[in-house]
């Protein structure tokens, strides 16, 4: 019996996780990605494995997803994670005013926190601003974005999924009824137009999901691309993730990674998603806000500044208050276009859960009764990832 | 999938010092002087064969090599020997993990010694 065929569009975190989940459940998966693995938003994250504490006050649905998935990812893919936890640090009265809500929110979301005295905190992180008033220990972490995706992709490979990188979607192949039957794509490495047919196409194009869905008909997706800037500095000044204990805001987080730290981030709205310039004033803002938390940043060389665009779900509000949770849309239900599912929104931390929900929907549509096992199986070494082209030769 | 780009024609690139760091210059110098000295070693052995042919042959040969052109050649050999030998000391000790991070400074130091020695030998040779 032939396996049901699925095409995943986009090899960001969502795309690779969906590919892995579907392949593991027994579908034949082809992944189309117009560039290399995680070249868009996913790659350009600062690599924070969320404990959920950041959202515990304003966005509890998202916070609960984060803490659950945080614990799962630590278990299944420790090879790409710095599991050192994080701190929420209060520096002034305004920060302290947030304290009660923070404690309550974390308790509501089952995020285990521990309050530390300034002395205890400085013993853990000597480079922190010595004027700090209080701090909370949270189970944050750091991951390597490319390797996180490569790990999932390697596991997908092992179940037979093929990755077609540098293959840009040109159009959907539709049947007479306007239902999606396959895709037509440009292989950028050979400049050839190729086709694949499938039983189902999953649109996991992140901020570009709207453009992709638009190719299948008059579909409107509730995505609000919200870019933010991040600045990396040349020294590992902290061992744990440092958050500002306050409402989510610009430059409220410092993420250590390898031998550097990254300060993030801002939040605004962008026009062109393919290229978003890095604005100097935002870099300066990150520097100033970063120095508030870790004054030694002042004496540290800037290593790089970069920009990524979050695919946030539009619920009629602006920027920071947009929800960080995700949405899985069956276009048969919403737009009467069968054979196309869109998954968007979410966080890197919740990638596996997003894939699980998407795969559940896909299996239900295809009449398959297979349950998700990705929370249990360890992910293979990221170095086992290979491209479709290599497989054909080997 | 694409071919590996290496072709034997690339070997000339061993000796291409453009865009290279000091370590590569050392590598290039060591390779050139090593090959040169090997060539000299065998030429030298052949020439010393004149000794077996008796006093006239050898003394005639020595008179010949006192010509400035041969002296210049001899100076090249001396220079190569100093460069190769001194750089060899650097490679030898760093190869055992000693002072590998200081290889550049060692190279500069040793090459300074080599330059002084070469100049000394040049003056000595051409003034005698």
């Amino acid at each position: 019996m032939d396996k049901p065929q699925a095409i995943v569009i986009g090899a960001g975190f969502t795309g690779v996780a969906v590919a892995y989940d579907l392949a593991q459940r027994g579908l034949k998966v082809n992944v189309l990605e117009r560039g290399p693995l995680v070249n868009g938003t996913s790659g350009r994250t600062h690599g924070l494995l969320h404990s959920g504490a950041r959202y515990a006050v304003d966005d509890q649905e998202s916070a609960i997803e984060c803490i659950d998935e945080n614990l799962i990812l630590r278990k299944i893919i420790p090879q790409v994670i710095e599991p050192n936890g994080g701190l929420f640090v209060a520096l002034n009265e305004s920060d302290m005013a947030y304290r009660e809500a923070f404690i309550q929110g974390c308790e509501d979301c089952h995020i285990s926190i521990e309050e530390l005295t300034p002395r205890q905190t400085l013993a853990l992180e000597p480079n922190l601003n010595p004027k700090l008033i209080t701090a909370f220990k949270v189970p944050d972490g750091t991951f390597d974005p490319l390797r996180l995706a490569m790990g999932f992709a390697a596991s997908a490979n092992a179940y037979g999924a093929e990755f077609h990188l540098f293959c840009e979607l040109q159009d959907f192949i539709l049947d007479g009824m306007g239902n999606v039957k396959g895709v037509q794509y440009l292989d950028r490495s050979s400049n050839q137009i190729k086709e694949i047919h499938a039983d189902i196409v999953i649109n996991a194009a992140g901020v570009w999901a709207g453009e992709v869905a638009g190719l299948a008909g008059n579909i409107d997706l509730p995505i609000k691309p919200t870019p933010g800037v991040m600045v990396a500095y040349d020294q590992r000044l902290c061992q744990r993730v440092i958050n500002r204990l306050n409402e989510p805001g610009d430059g409220d987080i410092i993420v250590p990674q390898r031998q550097m730290i990254t300060v993030g981030t801002t939040s605004f709205e962008a026009d062109n998603l393919d290229y978003i310039p890095v604005f100097d004033d935002q870099v300066q803002l990150m520097f100033e806000r970063g120095c508030e938390l870790i004054p030694a940043i002042r004496y540290t060389k800037e290593r790089g500044a970069f920009m990524a665009s979050r695919p946030l779900l539009d619920s009629g509000t602006k920027g920071r208050s947009l929800t960080r949770t995700f949405k899985c849309i069956d276009h048969k239900e919403s737009d009467n276009v069968d054979g196309l599912v869109t998954i968007t929104g979410g966080k890197a931390t919740t990638m596996r859960l997003m894939a699980e929900k998407t795969a559940d929907l896909v299996c239900q549509k295809l009449g398959m009764h297979v349950s998700c096992q990705t929370a249990e199986i360890p992910i293979l070494s990221y170095r086992k990832f290979h491209l479709a082209q290599n497989r054909e030769v080997a | 999938m694409a071919e590996h780009p290496q072709k034997p024609a690339n070997l000339i690139k061993w000796f291409d010092p453009r865009n290279k760091s000091l370590g590569s210059w050392a590598f290039i110098l060591n390779r050139i002087t090593g090959l040169g000295l090997t060539l000299y070693l065998f030429l030298h052995l052949i020439m010393l064969g004149q000794l077996a042919r008796g006093p006239e042959a050898y003394d005639g040969f020595i008179a010949l090599v006192k010509h400035p052109i041969f002296l210049a050649g001899e100076l090249l050999v001396v220079a190569a020997a100093f460069i190769h030998g001194l750089n060899g000391i650097r490679i030898g000790i760093t190869s055992f993990g000693i002072a590998a991070s200081k290889q550049k400074q060692i190279f500069i130091g040793l090459m300074t010694v080599a330059t002084i020695a070469i100049i000394y030998f040049a003056i000595r040779m051409f003034t005698h």
């Binding site: - | 034997p8 090593g34 090959l35 070693l41 000794l51 077996a52 006093p55 050898y58 003394d59 000391i89």
Partner: protein
């Protein structure tokens, strides 16, 4: 190469040859210094005539040292030459020929050197 490795057993430069190269290199420097001191500083003005050379070789330490020097230099030179040839990517067959060639060359030149030294010593 698909697996990332060239698994065919080859006759390349392992630890042994590498160590020998470093060791002989070091010895060359030591002996060369002695050689230079003896040739140019002790024997005033250098060994420039046939008679000088023959006379020089009458001291029994000299031929022994010269032969040792020759063996060390030839070994170092040929291992070095082989390293360079290895980087030209010879096939195993060619490499085997190179190995034989280098051994013959080395043994030949050492034999020739010993013969030459004996000739000079006997002229004394």
């Amino acid at each position: 190469m698909r697996d990332g490795f060239d698994v065919t057993p080859r006759l390349g430069e392992g630890a042994g040859l590498w160590f020998l190269k470093i060791l002989t290199g070091f010895l060359v420097i030591v002996v060369l210094i002695i050689h230079l001191i003896v040739n140019h500083l002790i024997v005033e003005g250098g060994l420039l005539t046939y008679a000088d050379v023959v006379h020089y070789y009458q001291n029994p330490i000299i031929p022994i040292m010269e032969i040792a020097f020759l063996i060390i230099v030839v070994t170092h030179a040929l291992i070095g030459l082989r390293s360079v040839l290895l980087d030209l990517q010879p096939s195993n067959k060619v490499l085997r020929l190179i190995n034989y060639g280098l051994v013959v060359l080395g043994v030949g030149s050492i034999a020739y050197g010993i013969w030459l030294v004996l000739v000079i010593v006997n002229r004394g």
